[in-house]
Symmetry: C3
């Protein structure tokens, strides 16, 4: 896909998002509660943090998309993820997996391995997490034990593994970093926008996964949804970095940018890697 | 109540809040943890998020008011709400209900129906939530099934239902939206201040319910507490909207405004609907 | 320790923090999730909120330090604190206790008393909390029943008790307030920097305890880690107070200041009490 086609597509999906306000159910980590909800509201979506096992499966039928994030995992959250993703499949609601901390502990690995069987439409993580998920899927015997929730692999290392994972799961895989990569198992797209300050604000990755849920909730296919969400997000990062040079004010400027970004910003700024 | 009397009352209650720093216990949703605590601190109150069933009833005796919010509901939270509201009644601590997502799932409905029997002093929600609560109370057979946590009814539709609910529960009911309405079952007050950006920042509604707890904690009656909190909040929204035009910076300006607002701001800006 | 030596030490530890990005595991309260993670990221550390009993002990082996905070306590959190601090001791990972709300309820007291037996390297609280911890340790029969999570004692009152507690627990004790005090049971250091606005932003105390974990994670001794973290934090507060005069914008400026502060800021601004 060429640069201009991608920019046009992302601009169109941004318009759809703002017109439709898709309802996105999130079972997300507790650190990301505030910023992920604000990312979705600023971008035009309607977030609903509904994460109890008692109500998650009932609620998901109404959602346009479901987002699952394994940060700050707990036993009740894992149970909710299990029943919500099961209901999502039954009701045809697409869902996105953010395997935060995959590879970090046995509990995360077991939970993520179970979720893979629920067929996510998209998996988004940093390079280490994508490597760890591939290992859990039996696709690599490389040791991929991230130190914590930070990435320790360079994005370029992860491309082949991401493609394998996408083919194995029949889904879209996005590994974000200095250059973001997105693949459906065949094509690979590389996005070079974004600011290093995005890694100095907590849970912006979780917010991005939320935004993938929002674009997916507009009804487009998972590859289009993922590349558009990553494009919009990274360019909002560029806009914010022009207004702020430290993480407190950057976060504020970034939320503002998600609210203000328009198709012209995208077409003038998009850079492929 | 006329405009000037309302403005004077709100200014006086704001002064009492800042002088007394009432201790407000909140069992609130996880999305609102940060912003609701900051709203209360900025306004002058002393928030305490104490939500374990093991300690909520013991703590509530010391609180000037208790605030219950059913967003991101969980079984332990529902249990804590049950024992805390029971203890609040025993010890004469007034409490406020924010029925987030009422009508959305069976679990929320069951929990909210149980809480209604604990006699809240105030119920505050958006129009959809107030409609759903009225339905749970058996006051209407209208279908009121909100899509998520967003409002789908216009505030004007909900006035008659809010009055019925207030009479039924012997409490104050506030339905907030473009125009806020507040009723004790007889009188209706309509407030026209506030900014649409308030709906683009997550959990500002939850923060408002917290502020009702704070004004209630100054010892005034529930109607005065509710109309003053809504007045202060909406005018802080006006002040913030003069300084910020996107949700990230609006949130910052709004917290600043709650800290800086004074009785003159209220008397010069208050607009009834 | 004289002013210049302290400033030099804090500058050096700040440099080490930014060079090493120590991984700090936090089992912290839900109100502080966002701001504490952002404090650590801005200062240069790598926070990981990992708090399930199922994975906390496994994860802690990889951490440079562990931070335990008893705000918004729950039974699963208390269990996670128990197994994580036990594992931290086994694996030689230093840990810091923030006894939020100690003295407030039986549940908090029981939990804090259990944690004291796990030998924290540092205890940081406000004056009321330090008084309450000392009472739980059997060191004083003074009634120290704080109203909520706010301090009701003046910092100066607590010095003798803090020294006793430090000797009893063989740890560093810091009681923060208008003047912060830090003691190893013999020496007492008093820091006079900081802004009253720091008490109007929720969970900044929790963020400070997180920063103590981060400085401790650089490998320095607990006294040096504590005094440096408090120095850096309070001077960041001074810097922020020069740019913002209300809590919303102060919070933003404070996170920015933690990212931007340099050894020269410290040496030119440090004031002992």
């Amino acid at each position: 896909m060429d640069r201009d086609a991608l920019a046009t597509e992302a601009g169109n999906i941004l318009g759809a998002l703002r017109a439709q306000h898709p309802l996105v159910q999130m079972i997300t980590n507790l650190v990301s509660m505030d910023v992920a909800a604000n990312v979705l509201l600023a971008a035009g979506a309607s977030p609903a943090m509904v994460h109890a096992p008692e109500e998650s499966p009932e609620f998901v039928r109404k959602a346009a998309a479901l987002v699952i994030n394994t940060g700050t995992l707990s036993a009740p959250a894992a149970q909710a993820m299990d029943v919500a993703t099961s209901a999502a499949r039954t009701h045809g609601v697409p869902w996105v997996l953010d395997p935060v901390g995959a590879g970090g502990t046995t509990f995360r690995n077991t939970t993520v391995a179970g979720l893979l069987r629920r067929r996510p439409a998209v998996i988004r993580g940093n390079a280490s997490e994508i490597m760890a998920v591939a290992r859990l899927a039996g696709l690599t015997d490389q040791s991929a034990a991230p130190r914590g929730v930070d990435t320790v692999h360079d994005t370029s290392e992860v491309e082949a593994v991401a493609q394998k994972l996408a083919r194995h799961c029949l889904c879209i895989v996005a590994a974000t970093g200095a250059v973001d990569i997105i693949t459906d198992g065949r094509a690979i797209l590389r996005l070079a926008n974004g600011s290093p300050l995005m890694t100095r604000v907590t849970a912006l990755g979780c917010g991005l996964t939320g935004l993938i849920g929002a674009t997916l909730g507009t009804g487009v296919d998972a590859f289009a949804a993922t590349r558009s969400a990553l494009t919009i997000y990274a360019i909002a990062g560029d806009l914010a970095a022009e207004r702020a040079d430290a993480p407190g004010s950057f976060r504020v400027a970034f939320i503002d940018a998600l609210y203000q970004i328009n198709p012209q910003d995208i077409s003038s700024r998009l850079r492929l890697g």
